[in-house]
């Protein structure tokens, strides 16, 4: 699937923490962070998903054209006029998400992201017809090749819209 660099900076972490309504100073206040055993600002536990911003093959990209490979893969899903070619789909749901943490994710890290498919399976759903499940595994490693975060995402493709 994809291998790309994910450079982490304080602004991206600030934006991400702000969107969660965070008040914890560890995500933005350097003076506070330096006085803790962590020694620096760190990212919130789910920040690894923001690697999508640097994934040249990412779907769901809205109007953004960069970064993108010169020969991009075909857009999937409901990319339509006026929707910015976002590659969005009403039938693709996020079923499960798991993170394994190996070390704190800090600003200044130049992470290497490696994305690979995991298991796939099918199930008959109660409300959404046939459900197709597929795992995507993303490894983020630091400059020395040490793991920082491993992310496992389970996507579900449904036959019809599912209401919660």
């Amino acid at each position: 699937m994809a291998d790309f660099e994910f450079p982490v900076d304080r602004t991206a972490i600030l934006n991400f923490a702000a969107a969660l309504g965070e008040t914890n100073p560890i995500y933005w206040d350097e003076a506070h962070a330096k006085a803790t055993p962590l020694g620096s600002v760190i990212a919130p536990p789910t920040f690894a998903v923001a690697a999508a911003l640097w994934n040249p093959d990412a779907g769901l990209r809205g109007i953004r054209q960069i970064p993108k490979r010169s020969a991009p893969p075909a857009e999937k899903g409901a990319a339509r006029e006026g929707r910015g070619g976002g590659g969005g789909s009403a039938r693709l749901l996020h079923g499960e998400q798991r993170f394994e943490y190996h070390q704190p994710l800090r600003p200044g890290m130049r992470l290497s992201a490696s994305i690979r498919p995991g298991r796939t399976w099918e199930k008959e759903g109660k409300r959404g017809g046939k459900l197709r499940f597929s795992e995507t595994i993303t490894e983020l490693r630091d400059e020395r090749g040490e793991l920082v975060v491993t992310s496992t995402s389970v996507g579900i493709i449904t036959e019809k819209a599912v209401e919660g």
């Binding site: 702000a18 969107a19 962590l38 020694g39 409901a78 394994e100």
Partner: protein, 141 residues
């Protein structure tokens, strides 16, 4: 690995729990902020005509990952920063604009090595679970 724990494993007993309101009257603005910060611009999360038209939903709804991130606030506010070893959830129900979410964590195990297992559930204002999951934290003994 450096951490900044808020408590020791010995201060937690199996069955101990904590809850926190992690979103009150969730706004479309917050959903849009999350789209920008995470890079997930699926129009189902911000484009009302798209969500209610062909897609057939009553309105836009929050990214599952926004709800997971909000649930993570319970863990870090309770246990500390950099202490998580794993964090996983299943998305069981959509979260809509106007929802108020309460995350609850319950201690399921306390290891002699300081590893603490937490069961998680986040519910909406009707008491319906929106995510369920589990986390493992490494705390000082």
């Amino acid at each position: 690995m450096s951490t900044n724990p808020k408590l020791r494993a010995g201060e937690l007993a199996v069955g101990a729990s904590r809850e926190q309101v992690v979103a009150e009257n969730l706004s479309r603005t917050q959903i849009v902020m999350y789209a920008g910060a995470s890079g997930d611009f699926n129009p189902i999360h911000h484009d009302e005509p798209f969500a209610t038209g062909g897609a057939g939903y009553p309105s836009v709804f929050a990214h599952g990952m926004l709800t997971m991130g909000l649930t993570g606030r319970l863990l870090t506010d309770w246990l500390g920063d950099g202490v998580l070893r794993s964090f996983g959830v299943r998305f069981v129900r959509q979260v809509w604009p106007g929802d108020t979410l309460t995350a609850t964590g319950t201690v399921t195990s306390v290891g002699a090595d300081g590893q603490v297992g937490i069961e998680l559930v986040t519910t909406n204002q009707r008491g319906e679970p929106v995510v369920a999951g589990e986390a493992v934290a490494q705390l000082p003994v």
